[in-house]
């Protein structure tokens, strides 16, 4: 039985040529192609493909979020990231959200098809550089937490807004909290960052 594959790719040219490539592969059965994440999330569950090739850089919903939503609906479907990005964050975020493999677009088409077969067979294919990054990640000695990492999510949000130059009032409005709450959070932020002023806090935040 051929492996059913859907692709999510915003670049039309790439999408079309990739569709054609996959369609031709004897072990694969091309199911659908989607230009954006929303479309994919809407339509893929109906097709329930075995494998989804997922670009990361999509117009609105990004590929990682898309993986998450698809995996929620189709836990058995393997999602392979296919992207030009090789940043660690994206790799780990993708894997965390349920991607079964991470491939770079410079992968020769034959190997791409082979990777689809691997994942369907229960493997976790990765481009060489990506695999190395994953290994390196686990070999790294755990870095000491920076002061900024000690902040809670909300504190982090507030500080980020502050760094963008928003006033307390604006921050309060944006986050839907009161002015005094903003102040209280900032007070904690100052203490955690060991700083005395807003500017210092922002400097620390930006310089992290």
């Amino acid at each position: 039985m051929r492996i059913s594959v859907s692709i999510v790719e915003d670049s039309r040219g790439t999408r079309e040529s990739l569709t054609e490539l996959l369609d031709r592969a004897p072990s694969l059965r091309f199911v659908s192609a989607h230009a954006n994440g929303e479309d994919a999330v809407e339509k893929i569950p109906g097709n329930a493909p075995d494998v989804v090739l997922m670009d990361i850089n999509l117009p609105k919903m990004n590929g990682i979020e898309c993986v998450h939503q698809i995996k929620e609906k189709l836990p058995k479907t393997h999602v392979l990231m296919l992207t030009t990005y090789e940043e660690g964050d994206l790799i780990f975020d993708s894997l965390r959200k349920g991607a079964s493999g991470y491939l770079l677009k410079n992968l020769p088409p034959a190997e791409l098809i082979s990777a689809i077969e691997q994942v369907h067979a229960g493997g976790a294919p990765m481009s060489m550089q990506i695999a190395r990054k994953v290994v390196t990640h686990f070999q790294q000695i755990k870095k000491p937490q920076s002061e900024v990492d000690k902040l809670t999510k909300r504190e982090h949000e507030i500080l980020a807004l502050l760094a963008k130059g928003f006033l307390y009032k604006e921050i309060a409005d944006q986050l839907g909290i009161s002015l005094s709450t903003v102040r209280a959070h900032l007070h904690t932020v100052y203490e955690k960052l060991h700083v005395q002023s807003r500017t210092e806090a922002v400097v620390k935040f930006l310089g992290r």
Binding site: S11, G13, T14, E16, S17, L18, E20, L21, R24, N57, P59, T84, Y85, K105, N106, P108, P109, A110, S197, T199, E200, V202, V203, L206, G207
Partner: protein, 1008 residues
């Protein structure tokens, strides 16, 4: 009362009297009167009233007004604010029992001076001439007038006492006096009695004669009835003390006084002052024969005010002078001694032996033929033998009423002797002239010690406490004789010899040498010192030295009599003081100019009664040190005024009503008053005084300013009783002043005033604190500012870094998205072509697609590179590029393009970000036109002005409705979002059927 509380100013002109010379000297009586008249500052030579107030001032009431006197200066006291001018003359004055001063004024008015309780009574009383005032213990004051009227004042209530109160009728003045028990006695029309609760009670009836009263210390009153002195007690017992007999029978008593010895003084209208003792009446000479007022001051001096002769001070003479009037045949005495019977023997300069018997000098009369006619010196031994040295006639001995022979008399025969001395062992020592020798008569044998002629005459011999006999010559040689040893110990041998005039030995073992011109030498325990006028000695020509029992050494000198404390010499030698204090007795003691005699010895005498006998050229001075020391404790000092920059700020008021604008200085209590001085004062003047009416000119002051100096500064003699201190710095001070009497005893009662000089505002604590605070705050502010600036700079760097990173991320994304997508596609197309290699037609299609994609990639790369290239960072470049793009793009899709650009484009720099976004917006708009508008023409307009850049893209396509399809709305949202990111905006106006207008607007930011 309002009137009373007003200023009673001291008259501005304080008058000083010049020098200390009394106006006249009355010689040779027991009493010495000294007087002050207008030329010494007395306001008027008629002194109607006298009183001494608690602190010591002597108040003088005259027809001119009121003055107060401190012994040195008279201060006129203006009563202007208390009473009208016609009443200013004072007729009589009385110090009340509770310290008030009562003044009976011209035209009948009465004034009570009692500080804040002062007031004048004018309309309540008659306008007749007042005569007497008496205040009783019951708080009432009686005031009598000529014409017999009597008023009674109780508090502020005045009532007239009349015949139904018991007051006898008649025009005779009612005499008044308060006795020691506070009862008021009266006398009128021959009746004498006591006033009780306003009722005149008669105690005794006498002859109706003019009467005067004064309290008697032993009870009752003294009354002068006519010329008769009587004493009347409460029971009506009258004692007669005799009568005085004035030259003028019309003389009547005007005033009476009992002194502290119980003797009575009576002032009369024409016959001066009478002094009554147990011996009867005696006149005491004063400056004028009409006496109007009498008081005794606290030192025991009697003060008498006269009618035109000024103010007299009367006190006993301490130094009397014996001259021809006392029986001396010649006023200059050479040698003097006292025999065991207390008879004083002396030799006159003209060779007469005299003795004082019953207070009278008489020449020694001898009926025998061998009477020595030219006597030089005389001394007496304990056996009451009088030894008499003569000129050329040897030595005589008088004993028991006759001249007696004595063993060894032949050794003295026809010799001239100048000095005699009886030693404590009973030997007689004599100094002989021509040939010079000292002879000692011991147990009937004469020892003779010859001396060369060049020592000149032996003038003085003395025995010290160790039993050494000392002899001094007129050449200046000094010899010590002990047993048979004679040693010359002339202290001034190395210098020009100075003639020695006298020798004296004090019980402390010291030998004193009086020099002619070199002061005094002192030889004690082998140590010799000299004191002369440079060290405070009054005179350098010292002829007599004698000690009294009070620790003083008295000197007879060329310039008169003076004394120095023995301990002053000790202190001066020890360096404790630089000068000894000499106290001279001269005119102030009623003495004429005196010069001491010198020549033969014994030259002075300290009598067994303690009196000192010092021979002077014109008289023999007899000093009674006891009298000099009477009532002479050091006076308490009083601060009278404080002036800051010549303006009075505080003054002592005493009985005077306080001046509201001055602070009051209390009498002497430490810390009672604190004066506040402004910080910008230039000088502070302290005026003070002390009351020593016996010898005011000898009073000295010393002062100190605690906070500046701890030691005393002694005022120069004869100064104005004031100290001026220049500007004082901010802080607390105590000004203290003390006085000493003529004997140099400093009073422990000092007058003190506390001063606080307020600080300038910059010296205050709060100001200094403020400065420190301001300084600290400014430092903090600067530090904060600097660190803030540093943080801001850091923040800017970080922002720039963040912007750079964002930019790089964007470029990376562009490359990935645009270029990456194209290249990926090419890769896939290549693979597809490879798979289709068997079908050339398909391969051809693939290759065409690949080349088209490659061209797209090149174009995308071009756009990315264009945006990144810094050479393209101006507005002109952007517009060029966008315009070129529009033309190229629209041509490829077959749409006409019309460009409308400004002729000159301002030189503005655009950041990469800005250029990129603007270009993308334009590109998107063109892309939308091609894809959705179905237009045939596009009109691209660019408008640039000072405030903004505006790009208008207009097409003639189909336009769109309110709800464009998804792809279009995404594109439009994208455009709006991009413009918002760079601070601009984008409006899209779709007109259905007549095209779309996209307006991109970017306002210039200041730094763009």
């Amino acid at each position: 009362m309002k009137n009373v509380c007003r200023l009673l100013a001291l008259c501005a002109g304080v008058l000083f009297f010049a020098g200390n010379a009394p106006a006249a000297v009355e010689r040779d009586t027991e009493w010495l009167a000294r007087w002050w008249q207008t030329e010494e500052g007395l306001p008027d030579n008629t002194v109607n009233g006298l009183a001494q107030t608690e602190e010591g001032y002597l108040w003088i009431g005259t027809p001119t007004g009121l003055a107060r006197f401190d012994g040195i200066r008279f201060e006129n006291v203006s009563l202007t604010n208390l009473i009208a001018l016609p009443n200013h003359g004072i007729i009589t004055m009385q110090r009340g029992r509770h310290g008030a001063l009562w003044l009976a004024m011209d035209r009948g008015a009465l004034v009570r001076l009692a500080g804040t309780n002062s007031r004048a009574f004018v309309n309540e009383v008659t306008n007749l001439i007042p005569n007497g005032i008496a205040e009783g213990a019951d708080g009432t004051t009686l005031l009598s007038y000529r014409g017999g009227l009597v008023y009674r004042i109780r508090g502020d209530q005045v009532s007239q006492l009349r015949t139904n109160d018991g007051l006898p009728e008649g025009l005779d003045i009612c005499a008044l006096a308060t006795d020691g028990g506070g009862r008021v006695w009266w006398a009128k029309e021959g009746e004498i009695g006591i006033v009780t609760n306003g009722i005149f009670r008669v105690v005794q009836k006498l002859n109706p004669q003019p009467m005067r009263l004064t309290a008697a210390s032993e009870g009752g009153v003294w009354a002068c009835c006519g010329h008769q002195l009587l004493k009347c007690d409460e029971a009506g017992n009258v004692l007669d003390y005799g009568e005085f007999h004035p030259d003028n029978s019309g003389t009547v008593a005007t005033t009476m006084l009992e002194d502290k010895d119980g003797d009575v003084w009576i002032g009369t209208t024409y016959n001066g002052l009478y002094h009554h003792t147990d011996d009867g009446f005696q006149t005491v000479a004063t400056s004028h024969g009409a006496i109007l007022s009498l008081i005794e001051d606290r030192e025991g001096s009697i003060w008498a005010g006269t009618f035109g002769g000024g103010l007299n001070r009367i006190r006993p003479r301490a130094i009397t002078l014996d001259d021809e009037s006392a029986g001396l045949p010649f006023s200059s005495i050479e040698s003097i001694c006292e025999d065991t019977n207390g008879i004083v023997w002396a030799t006159t300069q003209n060779g007469v032996l005299v003795q004082k018997i019953n207070d009278h000098w008489q020449p020694f009369y001898n009926p025998g033929s061998d009477w020595p006619s030219n006597v030089t010196c005389v001394t007496a031994d304990p056996q009451n033998r009088i030894w008499i040295g003569t000129h050329n006639q040897g030595l005589f001995c008088w004993h028991d009423g006759k001249f007696i022979d004595f063993p060894g008399a032949e050794s003295f025969r026809n010799q001239t002797l100048h000095t005699l001395l009886i030693s404590r062992s009973g030997d007689l020592w004599a100094g002989q002239e021509t040939p010079n020798a000292i002879l000692c008569l011991h147990a009937g044998k004469v020892k003779k010690f010859p001396f060369p002629v060049n020592i000149r005459i032996f003038r003085a011999m003395i025995e010290d406490t160790a039993g050494n006999i000392w002899a001094a010559s007129s050449r200046g040689n000094l010899f010590r004789i002990h047993g048979d040893d004679i040693t010359e110990v002339t202290p001034r041998k190395s210098e020009t010899m100075t003639s020695i005039r006298c020798l004296y030995a004090t019980p402390d073992g010291a030998l004193w040498i009086g020099y002619a011109g070199a002061g005094v030498g002192r030889l004690k325990a082998g140590r010799y010192t000299e004191i002369d006028s440079g060290q405070g000695l009054f005179d350098n020509y010292v002829s007599h030295i004698v000690a009294d029992d009070q620790g003083w050494l008295w000197f007879g000198a060329n310039r008169g009599l003076f004394k120095v404390r023995l301990e002053d010499f000790e202190d001066c030698e020890a360096g404790k003081i630089s000068k000894v204090r000499s106290i001279h007795y001269g005119k102030g003691e009623g003495l004429p100019s005196l010069q001491a005699t010198f020549g033969d010895s014994p030259d002075v005498l300290r009598g067994r009664d303690g009196r000192l006998w010092i021979p002077m050229q014109t008289a023999l001075a007899v000093i009674d040190p006891e009298r000099i020391y009477e009532h002479n404790s050091p006076p308490a000092s009083l601060l009278t005024r404080v002036l800051v920059d010549d303006r009075v700020v505080a003054q002592y008021n005493g009985v005077l009503p306080p001046e509201p604008s001055f602070q009051a200085i209390p009498e002497a209590r430490r810390g009672a008053t604190r004066l506040k001085l402004p910080p910008d004062h230039r000088s502070v003047r302290f005026e003070f005084t002390a009351f020593d009416f016996s010898a005011p000119e000898n009073v000295r002051f010393r002062h100190r300013l605690d906070g500046v100096e701890s030691s005393w500064t002694e005022s120069e003699p004869n100064d104005a009783r004031a100290v001026i201190i220049q500007t004082l710095g901010y802080g607390d001070y105590d000004f203290e002043v003390a006085a000493c009497n003529g004997d140099g005893d400093w009073s422990q009662n000092t007058a003190t005033i506390a001063l606080t000089v307020t600080p300038f505002f910059w010296q205050t604590f709060w100001f200094r604190s403020l400065v420190v605070l301001a300084f600290t705050l400014s430092i903090i502010a600067v530090v904060r500012y600097v660190s803030f600036r540093r943080l801001r700079a850091q923040l800017r760097v970080l922002e720039q870094q963040a912007a750079l990173q964002r930019e790089r991320a964007r470029i990376a994304k562009d490359i990935h998205d645009d270029l990456g997508a194209n290249l990926t596609q090419i890769a896939y197309l290549g693979e597809l072509a490879n798979q289709d290699r068997e079908e050339p037609k398909l391969v051809g299609d693939r290759i065409r697609t690949i080349s088209a994609t490659a061209r797209q990639a090149v174009k995308a790369l071009d756009e990315i590179v264009w945006a990144v290239n810094p050479r393209n960072d101006t507005l002109a470049h952007l517009l060029d590029y966008a315009g070129q793009y529009a033309v190229d793009y629209l041509r490829t899709v077959g749409i006409r393009c019309r460009l409308d650009f400004p002729e000159s484009i301002p030189a503005r720099e655009l950041s990469t970000d800005l250029r990129h976004n603007l270009f993308l917006v334009v590109k998107e708009a063109l892309h939308n036109i091609f894809k959705h508008a179905n237009a045939t023409e596009v009109h691209l307009r660019v408008l640039v002005d000072e405030t903004a850049l505006k790009i208008v893209i207009e097409d003639n396509g189909c336009g769109f409705t309110d709800a464009p399809d998804n792809a279009l709305s995404d594109g439009l949202r994208n455009m709006k979002q991009r413009m918002a990111e760079v601070g601009g905006d984008c409006t899209i106006q779709g007109r259905v059927g007549s095209g779309t207008i996209v307006t991109v607007r970017l306002p210039w930011r200041n730094n763009d």
